[in-house]
């Protein structure tokens, strides 16, 4: 139970950074895709995909550079860095995948 709470707290600590940085990332990628010959996917799909991969990776890099010591909060309760990253990334990927499918089903994307 303690470990689940820790995974949840770590996930929450990445959420704001991920959502914000993914906005920028999605705009840049969408603009880049627009100059390609094929039509780009809807921007909401690009944004969700950024939240699944690019945003979390940026967040982990940011943590590594400026909040490295905070990992000890989790280490002291037996949770390793790699497991925090794997669980958080998996959560984003699964949630993003579900959201994209919901959007497709609702014909919004």
């Amino acid at each position: 139970m303690v470990r689940l709470t820790l995974y949840w707290e770590f996930f929450k600590s990445t959420l704001v950074f991920n959502l914000a940085s993914s906005v920028l990332l999605a705009i840049i990628i969408y603009m880049a895709l627009k100059i390609m010959p094929d039509p780009p996917p809807p921007i909401q799909v690009v944004y969700i995909k950024c939240c699944m991969f690019g945003g979390p990776i940026l967040c982990f890099l940011y943590n590594e550079m400026s909040r490295k010591e905070e990992y000890y909060f989790y280490f002291n309760r037996g949770v390793s860095k790699i497991s925090l990253i794997v669980v958080t990334l998996s959560t984003y990927v699964i949630t993003g995948y579900l959201l994209i499918n919901i959007l497709r089903y609702a014909k919004l994307a």
């Binding site: 303690v2 709470t5 820790l6 707290e9 929450k12 600590s13 010591e69 905070e70 990992y71 000890y72 909060f73 280490f75 002291n76 309760r77 037996g78 390793s80």
Partner: protein, 223 residues
């Protein structure tokens, strides 16, 4: 039954420079081991290797006879206070204590003149001393066998230093504690065994004169 932590044959070097050479350290329940050494002598390195978050060329860590590669991954074996604050800034004091110690222990833990007024304060809003005090008190109250404290008195006011020393002494009945700090007077004051890391090796210290002999403190500091 007292628990026993041993770290043996530690060899660690950075970029070809040998920092620790064949170190052996032992700590039992009831021990407060003061680890002294000059800047860059390898005190923090040794604690991180012992905790399991830093690799070494060679090391053997045993807790109660069982060998560990990364002891921190086993819950309730070992805790570590790093030099810099490690509590997530987005949490508040009460939530942090709840995560670490459980809901049932919040009331008893917060029944403290320093912490009772900080219940709902965010970690990011605490002063350096308050933060250090909270971190140390929490780590010492976790149900684990050994606690490693890296510079626990750094940036802490004398009143809080006194409180921290009291908690260390009280909790040493149930745990083994290894601490290191450049404020050697506080270390000498609270610890019951002392070691000095010198030239990559470890020297057992019995009195202040030995600290002078090994060049850790100047002769003029002996009172």
């Amino acid at each position: 039954m007292p628990n026993l932590l041993e770290i043996d044959s530690v060899v660690k070097s950075y970029y070809g420079r040998s920092v620790l050479t064949d170190i052996y350290v032992k700590c039992e329940t009831g021990d407060i081991l003061g680890l002294l050494g000059r800047n860059g002598s390898g005190k923090s390195t040794l604690l991180k290797i012992l905790f399991g978050t830093l690799s070494a060329e060679r090391k053997f860590i045993r807790i109660d006879g069982k060998i560990y590669d990364q002891p921190y991954k086993s819950l309730n074996e070992i805790c570590y206070l790093p030099q810099h604050s490690f509590l997530p800034k987005h949490l508040n004091v009460e939530r942090t204590v709840e995560i670490y110690l459980g809901k049932g222990q919040i009331a008893g833990f917060m029944d403290d003149p320093v912490l009772s007024i900080l219940r709902t304060t965010k970690i990011s809003q605490l002063s350096g001393g308050e933060l250090r005090y909270l971190e140390i008190k929490m780590l010492l109250h976790i149900d684990c066998k050994f606690v490693l404290l890296d510079e626990p008195f750094n940036g802490v006011s004398p009143i809080l230093v006194g409180k921290i020393k009291k908690i260390i002494l009280k909790m040493s009945e149930f745990k083994g504690i290894i601490l290191t700090d450049h404020d050697y007077r506080n270390v000498l004051n609270v610890a019951n065994r002392f070691c000095l890391i010198y030239d990559g090796g470890i020297k057992k210290i019995n009195n202040m004169e030995e600290l002078v002999r090994w060049g850790y403190i100047p002769e003029s500091r002996i009172e």
